[in-house]
């Protein structure tokens, strides 16, 4: 049957759609043709949309006999997968309903089922698009206004439930509000007072709700020039303005208007009574967000006007752009092309809208949807596709962001610095640095000079030192990073007076002669222990800071040529590291010596500490304690130190996640094998389904009767113990970090109070910003320990400034 030659099979292991379809049956061909026709309706065509729709509808009419269920399915999926084409599909369904009342009824039932399913499965965007489609069907005379209003009322009921998370209640109101641009006018014309009642109920809800989370989601702490509106507040303002304009909405294309004479003859259906599924503890709702704005119409040059912040057009455009990014983030070139190809692109300052939406995603709190580099690479593609406009808009955006950086939150500051250095590295690092040189007059801890310093450090990592020396104007010399060289004290001036120098030199010779780890320990043997000079001889004999100093700095200096050389050195002398660093104190000593040697090469410090964690030479808790140590006070506000802390926390998180997954897999295998071993394929699918829900990447390939890797009860128990131990370590790590933050911040606040100084210094802002960053970046993991944190650390006697950060964090999911 398969006459294709062997080599044609290779290439596309995954891609069903790109493989040539086998002509199995005429029916299947027809189905696929129908599907394509429906999917592509409204796309580039020489004939008008109306005639395309009419043509397609009559084709579908005639095919209803054979392909009814397929047509029902595709027509209900398309408006959800392609929400921007909602009105096209509602027109189609409207036309079909006008000709065939029964089909209309069946479709409505099908769509209602789709809507309810998505609510039950917590697919919130799908649910919102489904609701929108149902509303649009009112515009096409498929569904009655009364029954829609009943549904919307029931959804607002859900917003007024007690003892459910606020994020649930907020979502139900958001869903209703976001549907009104489509159907507001129709409801206003036919059922004005019912619409008004609905809006009053919503207004009451909005006035009562708390927005504790708002501050932690803001990109900038001040509201000038653009307020960082909480998302529901913004949409409500936009809907109110739409209402003021009598619901006259001009942005959404409405093909059904052309068919009004046909559609108004159709009989409408009533929606069945729909109640939102009740809340379950396992349900997770979307987190709130702020509406990111950086441009207004004064920023755009002469041309189409940027719709105002409270215009409904702004909401619709932004939603559309975000959904394009969602659909195409896997392919940056397609994404850029689609963003630039909006059907209404000539009516708006498109590049500004796009840039604003992309930065909205990049700066989203608590964390961006996709990798930072995804957005960075899409911006580069946009510059390639629109070289006459995009680079200028991007430069303007960068200027704006730099001007407002004083009030930007720390998480976004990091992302901005990382993005800018990455972007520059793709454009030969060309930038008009002179324009920014007024920032050189500011204190070095001020966000503006700090931003430049951090950008230069990141650019340095992507480039090399001499390049920057040539490139930067003379005036910037004090911000220029030092050449990234090791500072090895045992060969510098003054080395003769150091206690470890002689041993260090001997060690160099020995290591160059390829000695063993035991040889190294031997060389170090005779070094005195400075800790033993005190009377207390209960000193831990293995912890000898001098040995650590000589060994670590000498070895790493020998391996200083590249990362690979350093890693090879660590690997070869792993034994020495382990034997010198048995306690946390000793591990912190190792870290400190890494710092001493590599103080001018931040990137090297980051990768070395990463390697020390991976090879289990140091523990996560040691790194955390070291970050907050006295020795690191001078480095405390530098980005790289937090890079180190966050990678440490991530390692711990990954460790916990991995053990947790292994345990649930093992438990599931144990349960499955405890049942009858006959091959029941439903069981297999159910198990795979349940497992897939928890671990989407796993695929069950083993046959059900395979007991070869069945875990024993004891093995599962041991895994549970390991996981418990990991949770303990993870909790301890967070406790250490948060406790240290509380200590240093409280100290600062008390001291400022006693001295009568303003507490709001640059240092204070950076430190609070870093505390917030820990909560935001790791919120998924931290939330497990919220109650412990509340009872042990963030108690009511803590200064309200500090407590506030914690409360904003817990408000994210309340």
């Amino acid at each position: 049957m398969n006459r294709r030659r062997a080599y044609e099979d290779d290439g596309d292991f995954y891609g069903e759609r790109t493989r040539k379809r086998r002509r199995v049956s005429e029916n299947q061909e027809m189905e696929e043709r129908l599907e394509t026709l429906i999917l592509r309706v409204g796309e580039n065509s020489s004939s008008s949309l109306e005639s395309n729709l009419e043509g397609l509808v009559s084709v579908l009419e005639s095919d209803l006999g054979n392909f009814r269920s397929k047509i029902l399915r595709i027509l209900s999926e398309c408006p959800i997968k392609m929400p921007e084409k909602c009105t096209i599909y509602s027109t189609m369904v409207g036309l079909m309903n006008a000709k065939n009342y029964n089909f209309g009824g069946e479709f409505v039932d099908h769509m209602v089922k789709t809507f309810k399913e998505s609510l039950k499965q917590c697919r919130w965007d799908a649910a919102r698009y489904a609701l929108r489609f149902l509303s649009d069907l009112v515009n096409c005379h498929v569904i009655s206004t009364n029954s829609l209003l009943q549904l919307l009322d029931n959804m607002v009921d859900a917003a007024n439930e007690d003892s459910v998370p606020q994020v649930r209640r907020d979502w139900y109101v958001f869903a209703v509000l976001s549907t009104l641009p489509w159907v507001g006018r129709e409801l206003y014309e036919k059922k004005e007072s019912a619409l008004e009642n609905l809006l009053v109920r919503i207004e009451v809800f909005l006035n009562k709700r708390t927005k504790k989370h708002h501050n932690s989601l803001r990109v900038w702490s001040v509201d000038a020039p653009h307020p960082q509106e909480e998302y529901l507040d913004c949409l409500w303002a936009q809907i109110r303005k739409l209402r003021q304009d009598n619901w006259a909405e001009k942005h959404i294309p409405r093909p059904y208007l052309a068919f009004d004479s046909v559609l108004c003859e159709a009989l409408q259906h009533n929606l069945p009574l729909i109640h939102p599924p009740p809340h379950q503890d396992s349900f997770e709702y979307p987190m709130p967000w702020v509406v990111y704005r950086m441009f207004d119409y004064t920023d755009c040059p002469a041309g189409p006007i940027l719709p105002g912040a409270h215009s409904i057009e702004r909401f619709l455009i932004e939603e559309h752009l975000h959904s394009i990014i969602e659909s195409h983030h896997w392919e940056r070139k397609d994404c850029a092309a689609n963003l630039l190809n909006l059907s209404y692109k000539d009516k708006i300052p498109l590049e500004y809208c796009i840039v604003e939406v992309i930065f909205a995603e990049l700066f989203k709190m608590p964390t961006p949807r996709y990798l930072d580099i995804c957005y960075g690479s899409i911006l580069i593609e946009l510059c390639k596709l629109q070289p006459s406009k995009m680079p200028q808009v991007l430069a303007q955006a960068t200027e704006i962001l730099f001007m407002r950086i004083d009030s930007m939150n720390t998480s976004c500051f990091d992302r901005f610095a990382n993005w800018f250095s990455y972007h520059l590295s793709n454009f030969q690092f060309r930038w008009s640095w002179d324009d920014w040189d007024s920032c050189l007059l500011l204190e070095p801890e001020h966000p503006r000079p700090k931003f430049i310093e951090e950008v230069l450090l990141k650019c340095l990592r992507l480039s090399y030192h001499d390049r920057f020396k040539e490139m930067m104007p003379e005036t910037y010399s004090k911000l220029l990073p030092k050449p990234p060289m090791p500072t090895y004290k045992y060969t510098m001036d003054g080395a003769a007076s150091l206690p470890g120098t002689a041993t260090a030199h001997k060690l160099v010779v020995a290591i160059r002669q390829k000695c063993t780890p035991e040889d190294v320990l031997n060389e170090l043997k005779d070094l005195p222990n400075p800790r033993e000079t005190s009377e207390n001889d209960m000193v831990e004999s293995t912890f000898n800071p001098l040995k650590i100093d000589v060994f670590v700095q000498t070895l790493l200096n020998l391996g200083s040529k590249s990362f690979s050389h350093t890693f090879a050195a660590i690997s070869k002398f792993h034994l020495v590291f382990k034997s010198l660093a048995e306690t946390e104190e000793a591990q912190i000593c190792i870290l400190h010596n890494v710092f001493e040697l590599w103080v001018n090469h931040q990137q090297m410090m980051v990768v070395i500490i990463d390697k020390l964690l991976k090879t289990q030479i140091v523990e996560c808790s040691a790194v955390a304690t070291w970050v907050f140590s006295k020795e690191m006070v001078g480095e405390f506000t530098k980005m790289y130190l937090w890079e180190i802390l966050h990678l440490t926390i991530k390692k711990m998180n990954q460790h916990v996640t991995k053990l947790s997954k292994e345990l649930s897999d093992a438990k599931e295998r144990l349960d499955r094998n405890a049942e009858s071993s006959s091959s029941e394929s439903e069981e297999e699918t159910a198990a795979a389904g349940a497992d897939a829900a928890a671990t989407p990447q796993r695929r069950r390939k083993k046959p059900i009767g395979d007991n070869s890797d069945k875990p024993t009860e004891e093995q599962v128990e041991r895994m549970e113990e390991k996981l418990e131990a990991a949770y303990v370590d993870q909790k301890r790590l967070f406790l250490i970090i948060f406790q240290r933050f509380i200590m240093i911040l409280s100290e600062h606040l008390v001291k400022c109070d006693t001295d009568g100084r303003d507490y709001d210094t640059d240092w204070y802002r950076w430190t609070v910003g870093r505390l917030q960053q820990v909560f935001m970046m790791h919120h998924e993991q931290v939330k497990k320990y919220s109650s412990t944190l509340e009872s042990l650390l963030f108690t009511s006697d803590i200064d309200p400034h500090i407590l506030d950060v914690f409360h904003q964090f817990t408000a994210l999911r309340s």
């Binding site: 896997w330 392919e331 990798l371 995804c374 690479s377 030969q428 990592r461 992507l462 480039s463 990768v607």
Partner: protein, 159 residues
Amino acid sequence: MTSVHTPSVALSKYRDQHFKGSRHEQERLLRLTSTLYIGNLSFYTTEEQIHELFSRCGDIRRIVMGLDKFKKTPCGFCFVEYYTRDDAESAMRYINGTRLDDRIVRVDWDAGFVEGRQYGRGKSGGQVRDEYRQDHDLGRGGYGKMVQMGQLGANMRDS
């Protein structure tokens, strides 16, 4: 995060001719690997620069620099190994075709590093492509080796 198969992560047409195993086996490995081949690097691009850029897609397990077989100096390619396939796919999606050290780099799947594969396979010790190319590329030692050795006409050596 489960990934989706789209053109950016498809296999290219390149197959390693020195691969020990069948074509089928090589392709199976290419579809599972988390190792990437990075090409068109400058000879002066360092491991540090590569690490900084590629870490933006995920945690790097290791980088193996491609070396001239005789001189043992970098000759313009390397391998980057991630811990997960997803991270490697991100690099294919977001780094392939962008710049590192001012050059457009090529990112492609690799069946896995094996000792010996870090060396150039060109007769002169570098990569094969540097044997035959006729353009002048400052970052890759100037003219191609055959041009340098005068086999393609002495006049091409005038810069």
